[in-house]
């Protein structure tokens, strides 16, 4: 596994495997490559049938791939076996499962930890009154929001932003919160906007405040802010409660699915320990 030293080094390698019939989850832009390379967080392993890219994160390593051949070469087995931190790969697909890639990662010891489906807001429902006041999270709340996300979402599958990323997100005013009378955070909604799409990245309500429509208040405020955009959200296929909430606010299922797989030493049982079904 090599550290990627420049965009000019990696771009031709990535291009080499862009062929009909390939399976991939590699949709990084040039800007994203350059940023990861500058932070020395991107590694790669190139082999005859494809390329694997490894993005180092605070708690684990995320895998990107371009595969033309689905037999696992010994060099890849060797590289993967040397990686001690948890490895995560997300396979996004429309309708048909990428069975060859799934099998490739299973051979490398990855196990399924989460399936998600994308929902899109198709109907604008009437505004429902709630007693909750939704506010934009302030820079001063950075630590509280960070702790909240860490408590409510899985470290490996929850896409929790780093403190640095969170600081930027707060400046961009993309985090909404509902607080109790002591200003403790009851619920958080984090969203992002790209082109004409906006996406809910995180939505969670503290257990003690659930079933009081805190999530509904956050969703409605988010709709108000992003009313010009197409609004989408990825929801766990197992989380029927969340799916019903989104349906109540006009969302419907799309053909996009995501399968998250993870590889981790079995001894500490962290695959199941960290998966909380969010």
């Amino acid at each position: 596994m090599e550290l990627v030293k420049s965009f000019e080094e990696i771009a031709p390698l990535v291009k080499q495997y862009l062929k009909v019939g390939m399976e991939t989850n590699l949709f990084l832009s040039e800007e994203e490559y350059r940023s990861l390379i500058a932070q020395e967080r991107l590694y790669y392993e190139c082999f005859e049938g494809g390329i694997l890219l490894f993005k180092k994160r605070a708690w684990d390593t995320l895998c990107y791939f371009e595969l033309n051949c689905f037999e696992v070469p010994s060099i890849v087995l060797e590289t993967i076996s040397k990686i001690k931190e948890p490895l995560v790969v997300e396979l996004v697909y429309k309708t048909k499962e990428p069975i060859q890639s799934i099998s490739f990662f299973q051979t490398l010891g990855f196990k399924e930890v989460l399936r998600r489906v994308r929902m899109k807001r198709k109907e604008r429902k009437d505004f429902l009154e709630t007693p909750w006041k939704v506010k934009l999270a302030s820079k001063k709340q950075q630590e509280a929001v960070f702790s909240f996300l860490q408590e409510e979402f899985s470290l490996h599958t929850g896409c929790i932003p780093s403190k640095e990323e969170l600081s930027k997100i707060l400046l961009q005013e993309k985090i909404l919160v509902v607080q109790d009378e002591k200003e403790n955070i009851m619920g958080v909604l984090h969203f992002e906007v790209q082109n004409a799409f906006s996406q809910i990245r995180h939505l969670a309500v503290k257990e003690a405040y659930r079933h009081q429509n805190v999530a509904g208040a956050l969703i409605q405020k988010y709709h108000e802010i992003t009313m010009q955009d197409q609004q989408v959200v990825w929801v766990s296929e197992q989380n029927e409660t969340a799916q019903r909430v989104y349906q109540k606010y006009g969302y419907d299922f799309e053909a996009y699915h995501s399968l998250v797989m993870m590889r981790k030493d079995e001894e500490d049982g962290s695959i199941t320990k960290t998966f909380n079904g969010d």
């Binding site: 771009a11 291009k15 862009l18 082109n195 004409a196 799409f197």
Partner: protein, 72 residues
């Protein structure tokens, strides 16, 4: 141009071929673009670089066609 339009219709049957916001309006997502790029490389025999894969090169049929012509 016909060949390109046919390709786009195969990838996204619901596509609006007259739109000049194919990416911005969500007719083409990252997933479709990567599929389209691999098809273009095969069908048109051009080399598309990673740095060419930006929304502005895929926002309209004309923009995609221009990209192919530039790379020929």
């Amino acid at each position: 141009m016909d060949q390109l339009q046919k390709l786009l219709m195969e990838i996204r049957p619901d596509i609006d071929l007259d739109s000049n916001r194919l990416v911005d309006d969500g007719y083409l997502d990252s997933f479709d673009i990567v599929t389209l790029v691999s098809e273009i490389i095969q069908e048109f025999g051009v080399d598309i670089n990673v740095e060419d894969i930006v929304p502005e090169n895929f926002n309209s049929v004309e923009a995609i066609y221009d990209l192919i012509e530039r790379l020929k």
